[in-house]
Amino acid sequence: MHLNFQMTDNILVASAFGELDHHSASTVRDEIDETMEAFQCRHLILDFAKVTFMDSSGIGVVLGRYNKVTKKGGRIFLAGCSEFVEKILYMAGIFTVVDKQKSVEDAICLIKGQEQLQMEVTVSGE
């Protein structure tokens, strides 16, 4: 498995390619955490559109990133999950805490829209 990273403002998009299992999970976890840290990203979008296989190791990866990102006040989204990947994540109740979107673009729109709204609330509150 390998990862591609893209940055939009303070959002990191991590696109995963290949098979996510116990073996690849440790690299995926470390690479995402290091990149989030290095570029001081606030929000994270996990793009799983090109994940060809995933077992329960993926649950740990998603939950772990959820804990880290939300601790710093950021938001996390899953994008492009196949039906099978969704099935496994659903078993662990991931979608009760992590939002999923069809595409990365949809997730970016949501994060940006919400930040805009927060800014307006702050401005009008002054």
Binding site: H22, F53, D55, G60, M91
Partner: protein, 141 residues
């Protein structure tokens, strides 16, 4: 089919691919194949992580059988530390892995993708996981 391999995380992909290649002659659906691969991946990962504590000197055994009527039997065996309380281990979200991000969902995933799951284990004597899956042979006819 019976293979043995070192308890290395790299071999997880090999094990599930081998099982998938073996059952391919039964013309399973993509969904059935993915479910079999996931079950094997979970069981083999458990042997490596929990059974052998990631010690590559351990050996994991994978056995696959095709029985009459499209019944697939998969056995994953290790001579690792074993499971003290199998019923507890099978509970969703239960895990003994503290250092890494383990979800404790391995057995739950195996149970939901396979028709039957049997776990035989004794502390200090290793673990044998047997999974049975009935393929839908009427598919596409």
């Amino acid at each position: 089919m019976r293979i043995e391999f070192a308890a290395l995380a790299e071999n997880e992909a090999f094990a599930r691919s081998a099982a998938a290649a073996f059952v391919a002659c039964m013309d399973p659906t993509i969904e059935e194949l993915t479910e079999i691969k996931t079950g094997v991946s979970e069981a083999v990962s458990n042997s490596i992580i929990h059974g052998y504590k990631e010690n590559p000197n351990g050996t994991v055994e994978l056995e696959c059988q095709i029985r009459e009527g499209g019944k697939i039997v998969i056995i994953v065996r290790d001579q690792g530390v074993g499971i003290e309380d199998v019923n507890k281990a099978r509970e969703p979200m239960f895990t003994t892995g503290k250092t890494e991000e383990r979800s404790g969902m391995g057995f739950t995933v195996m149970e939901s993708f396979m028709d039957r799951l049997e776990v035989e284990s004794r502390a200090g004597e290793g673990t044998t996981v047997t999974m049975i899956k009935q393929l839908d042979l009427s598919d596409g006819l």
